[in-house]
Amino acid sequence: MITSTTPPAADPESRLRPLRYRIAIGIAVLVVVALIASSILNYAFLDTIPARASLYGLLAVALITLGTFILVRAFDRDRAARRKHLIRAGVLIGLGVLLWLLIIDVFLFTQSAGAGVAALCALACLPTTAFGLFVVRRMDRNHKEPWRLVLVAAAWGAIVATSLVVWGETIWESSAQHSLVPGPGLDTSLAFMAGILEEVAKGLAVLLLFLVMRDEFDDVVDGIVYGAAVGLGFNFLESISYMTNLYSIFNAEGFGWAAAGIQWYGRQVLGLFFGHATYTAFIGAGIGIARQLPSMRQKVLAIVAGFLVAIAGHFSWDAWATIFPIQNTLFGLLEIHLRTLIMNGPFTAAVIALLLFGIRYEGMNLLDQMRKEAATGRGAILLDEVPVLASPWRRLRQRLHALNRAGPRGYLQVSRLQTAQLDLAMERWHRERKEIDTPLEAEQHLRQRVMQLRHWVAA
């Protein structure tokens, strides 16, 4: 370990890294234990299709968990070892996904609506969810997150978080239905159930990313991106589940596809960004803000605050959406949109406000660091490059210019150079704020990479 760099590294002997790995391992163990216990409990006490799916799905969940862990860690290894780890991760995730889809098809959807309907519903939800992930990732206009982590977040939302809530929701729902008066009281209880259990299950994925992949979790903007990605993943599987369920309920009446289609529109178009994506983005925002706060008390408060807003947003939709009556006329179509806007709009607006503020905050600090780096005269960032790097549009124009001059290869090389320069500015920012635990040599390594890329671009 390097302990005597000049100037010294921000925190060369960080004790935080092992601590947060221990917390991450602790959470992962709890998640696995909860999954195993829930599956066994569900299977023993509830002879339902989801219970069987959750039991037989344990192996798939374990494969995906292990695969994603190897995947995210692979990029911290050297080039030679990385390839080997990537292949391992790919095989494990591939097996897990296949197994999971098989289980879902066989036990969950095929029995209610048939394999063909389940596949069509999944196909209908894929492009909209992909569009959602694309938009969410693009929101981080200064420093985009790697696709692998955005996809990992979405996969956790879709597979691990949905598996985690099955047992809790089944037990809560069953207890409430056996003890409460049907009507508003029961509905409120179930709204609390969905808000608390689903947001905690989704939030765990964001929390694990924060603990394990701190280098790719820079600030509030990253938190919102990862949180929204987890929410989109959860929304993807929930949409398929609701679509197939409603299809099977209303098919005998002759409008199964219409019921599934309305559900698709409500969840994958109208509610794509307004629902789960917004709620979990708040959890990400809380964790992202905590990432940069100095004291442990403030960190904990920020994370708890993010969870509270997410739970309240989810709760209010589930509990009070029915307050707005939807007429069975053409005007009802307008009312559906107004209801979503009125109920979820304020939460989405609030998370967008945090995002815009975060982008501005991040942008100002990156600009500051780029100027400081240029002033050192080391050549990684030149003074006349700073205005270009600070503007997403000017960066794009520079890449398009490279595309015109040297084709796609030129575009990619300039893109890599810009990314490396922004990485360097980000590293400098975290180091200045003493919120990084990699040694100063890591910054020098980034600088060398920029120089190497600059050489290629020039060539």
Binding site: I249, A252, E253, A285, I289, V304, F315, S316, A319, D368
Partner: protein
């Protein structure tokens, strides 16, 4: 403007705390709503006897067959309640709820003695539909206070198959 002279992180943090305060208010309102509709201390000790749930013949208004907890989609069913098991002056009703929480059949509200002739409570096929919707149905006998159900005196669950 440098990050040192104007750190906006504090603004973000305080904004999030304000949002969290609003969230706490929302959750508190939810809790109040729950307590309003599930008022504590509403236990009379009375128990309604639900004799069973049977296949129902809409033409005769009678039930047939044995007590069951599962029915095919094409079938119609009804619960039989023994109203004499309740104190005669108690204001009660009986309802069927489908899996979406909609009321699909009801008798009452009235006093238990006035409902003595309405022992069979059939589930209704929703208007415009050919069959009852599949899923889990809940049948409850409830006690009312000020027009609002406050206590469940008897409860049965029935599953309607998708096929």
């Amino acid at each position: 403007m440098s990050s040192v002279s104007y750190d906006q992180l504090g603004v973000l943090y305080r904004t999030l705390l304000i949002f969290a305060t609003v969230a706490v208010v929302i959750l508190a309102v939810g809790l109040v709503e729950f307590v309003y509709f599930e008022p504590p201390g509403q236990v009379t000790g009375a128990k309604a006897t639900i004799v069973g749930v049977y296949q129902y013949e809409p033409t005769t208004g009678m039930v047939t067959g044995a007590d069951r907890s599962e029915f095919p989609r094409a079938g119609v069913f009804a619960a039989r309640v023994d109203w004499s098991s309740l104190p005669s002056g108690l204001t009660v009703d009986a309802r069927w709820y489908d899996s979406f929480g909609s009321i699909e059949g009801q008798v009452g509200p009235d006093t238990a003695s006035n409902l003595a002739g309405k022992t069979i409570v059939p589930v209704e096929v929703p208007q415009g539909y050919r069959y009852v919707l599949p899923g889990r149905y809940t049948f409850v006998v409830e006690r009312l206070s000020a027009g609002m159900p406050v206590e469940v005196l008897g409860r049965r669950f029935v599953v309607v198959d998708r096929q």
